[in-house]
Amino acid sequence: MSANCDIEFTLNGVKRQLSVPAGMSTLEMLRERLGLRGTKYACGEGECGACTILVDGLTLNSCLMFAVDCDGRELQTVEGVAASEVGARLRDAFVANGAVQCGFCTPGLMVQASHVIEHNPGAGAAEIRRGIEGNLCRCTGYKKIIEAIQAAEQKNG
């Protein structure tokens, strides 16, 4: 059985202190220990993007990151992103452009899209496609997701 480690990090702007088992993933910590269920499990192997979060401003698959490695870092989950200005714009654009069907991929895409917009504000359709290629969606065929991200971008300008 794995030993526990004490870690300290910022989550959606709030300082957290936690003792976590060495083998626990960040996804599990978020969902099971901290009750943040917006971040989804859909593969656990870094292949689908449903568990995407921001770590120090970069997107990561939280299922592949050990919770202990959150120590000293700044995390943002979909709950945090949705509360931000960019997140609100994205949410409205996802809703208005029909980018949500079953919605299971949506939290991961919201986080990934916020990253695309922040880091490449003028991204065109091709760059957006590349930007979200690690996020699988079984329902929408991606078109409306790409349109939504573009719409959110335009409101930016």
């Binding site: 969902r31 943040l36 269920r37 917006g38 971040t39 989804k40 499990y41 859909a42 593969c43 656990g44 192997e45 292949e47 689908c48 449903a50 989950t77 979909v78 709950e79 949705a82 994205l90 949410r91 996802f94 809703v95 208005a96 452009n97 029909g98 980018a99 949500v100 069907q101 079953c102 919605g103 299971f104 991929c105 949506t106 939290p107 919201m110 957006i128 496609r129 590349r130 979200i132 290629e133 690690g134 996020n135 699988l136 969606c137 079984r138 329902c139 929408t140 065929g141 991606y142 078109k143 409306k144 997701i145 790409i146």
Partner: protein
Amino acid sequence: MGDIGSSLIGKRIPKLDAPDKASGKTRYIHDLEAPGALHAKILRSTEVHARIVWIDTAAAKRLPGVHAVITAADVPWQRPIGVAKDHLPLKTDRVRSLRDEVAAVAADTEEIAEEALKLIKVHYEPLPVLTTTDEALAPGAPQLHEGHANNVAMTFDYAQGDVAQGEAQSDVVIEDVFRLHYVTHCCMGVSGVIAEFDPGGSLLLYSNTQVPFLHKREFAEMLGIDPGRIRIIQPPIGGGFGSKLDVYPFEPIAIFLARITGRPVKLLFTREEEFLASPTRQPVVLKLRSGCKKDGTLTFRTVETVHDNGAYTSWGATTPFVMMQTVSSLYRVPHCKYHTAAVYTNNPYAGSFRGYGNLQATFAVEAHMDKLAEAVGMDLLAFRLKNAQEPGEVTPQGMHFKTCGFKQCLTTAAERSDFVAKQAANRARWRDANPVKRGIGIASMLHVGGGAKIYPSDGCGTILKVDDFAHVTLITGASEIGQGSETVLAQLVCEELGLPLSAVSVVNNDTDITPWDVGVHASRTTFIAGNSAIGAARKAKAKILAAAAAKAGVPVETLSLSQGFVFSENKKLFELGKFLRGLHFSDRAELVMTTFYYEPPSKHQDKQFKGDVSAAYAWATQACEVEVDTLTGIVRLLKVTGAHDVGRVLNRLGIEGQIEGGMVMGMGYALTENLVVENCTVKNPNFRDYKLVTAPEMPEMDISFIETMDGEGPQGAKGVGEAPAICMAAAIANAIYNATGTRIYALPFTPENVYRALHGAAQAPAWGKAA
């Protein structure tokens, strides 16, 4: 009248559940907590086919934190499940496939449950394995199920006219064998269930099922309790696509564990388990023989198919019901003969999947439409138009096409994609030096669009309550699985009552509250539940207007509801909320309406499959443009031009999304997805090796709607859920032929398979080495 100008029909209406979903607030089954819940895991067979000699659970039971370890011996009251009731949730003395459930554990945590699985010892005595339908059908093959000599699970036979006569009248006759592969749903939300009994023995089930009311009965029989004591709540579902239409073993197993431990039990699959133990779209070997006259008139079709049913029977076995419709009735064919044998093997078993056999049938039929046209020297579009169905037709199988936009679909898709000119230009480049070729192909489909008479009836109930602030609660039997039904139903109600969308709440996920419904399948929800919702709203409207007429002393015919007001001719008479408040304080408000819609009576199919299967039929044509790199075998889908007869567009945003998603799903079936099953073992149970289409590969999509205004449809609409996935593979196959001059008869068109086909090497079949 009063609502002129404010109609919601055809507008781009955002989904009601989207804001929560886009904020990470929606609670799927994975996100629900049942206080005190135990976590369950299932032990699956390690043998493909074997006798279970003994199971030793003693060590697992001793593990701290384990509350129950069960095998079939602990639930002697379990009953067979599935469409043919041919397997038990927990297997007794025999396993027939690698996914078979042998034991299950409930423990304090998932980790402990997994630990406990490792401590269970099972002694198997291997039995001979049937890896292919060929092996299963061979004389002397071991029999997988009692009562099924030759391992044939089900057969389907249909005939019209006399194919021998049809063949004699033909100037051209062709015959080919098509091979279709395994794919699986890949719902982003993995399977899961939470089961909980109250002290009196009533069951509360949180389930992702698409058919809650039908499942109540099955679970009740299994538990030996009154179905009235089972309540099913469906949390928002992370994708369905047909995967949740049958009772699969994990749900009863969670129920057993909950009953035995007296605690809530939560069971979630891992992604790997989802690949290994959810239903598949089944592989089909399809022999098609067809003919036509010199002038392009189709004469006959003969189809023989062998379906790999897998170890047990679920809905996959019954897909011939749909396949034969395409064979007999997509185009006018006087003489047809259809035969399917669904054959038991030790492979994963087949369920229902969006399109329900129609992808496979259309793939073959549309390849032959191209080949026959070419053989008689006719233009591919003209040949199809010559044989296409028209409105009013009753086909020899008995399907009545009251509305039919097929010809408009064909011409619209062809014109918008510049099909005829591009076809010719691409062919002219077959022999040029550029190894990268372009191709365009066209294919069409016919599917039920007005419910489906699979069960004795196809009904859906609605309860509508109108409160004193003119807020409406629509309580419907129809489940939302992400497809947007709740939004469309709310829209239809608002349209009747002249209210904004914000005035409606939808309740659709609790069998203790919602009225009966047969379930989400067969593209039926908008049509059946929509008509039901409209019925309830009209009743409410009639009552409100009658009361208003009495109060104002004007004839009811002069009144209407619009913009939250009762209008008299074009004047606002009463503010609706205020008027309703008054009505509620009176003694005769009774503003709860109920209505129940069944599709209109028609000739049900008989045992020979003759008769009507739906109140309306959906049509579509899709033109696909591809680029084929002949040096690598890589096929890129550049553009899809789709024309869909949807009756009428209700929610433009929703219907576009459904069609785009379906197109990309159909594209995955054709180009990237392949569940590799070798020696009855799934070799690629993960997203790395099972390739879903990703955003960069998405084609350009151009969608046109053909609005035929179906007389029976809600506001004229027909169902569309499955349609867009159906003819993609067929159109892509035709496009590859147009690009290269090579016709490929087996899916998927992965670079390896395409390369082999182009360069003459024997093509590696996608599964086994079946006939």
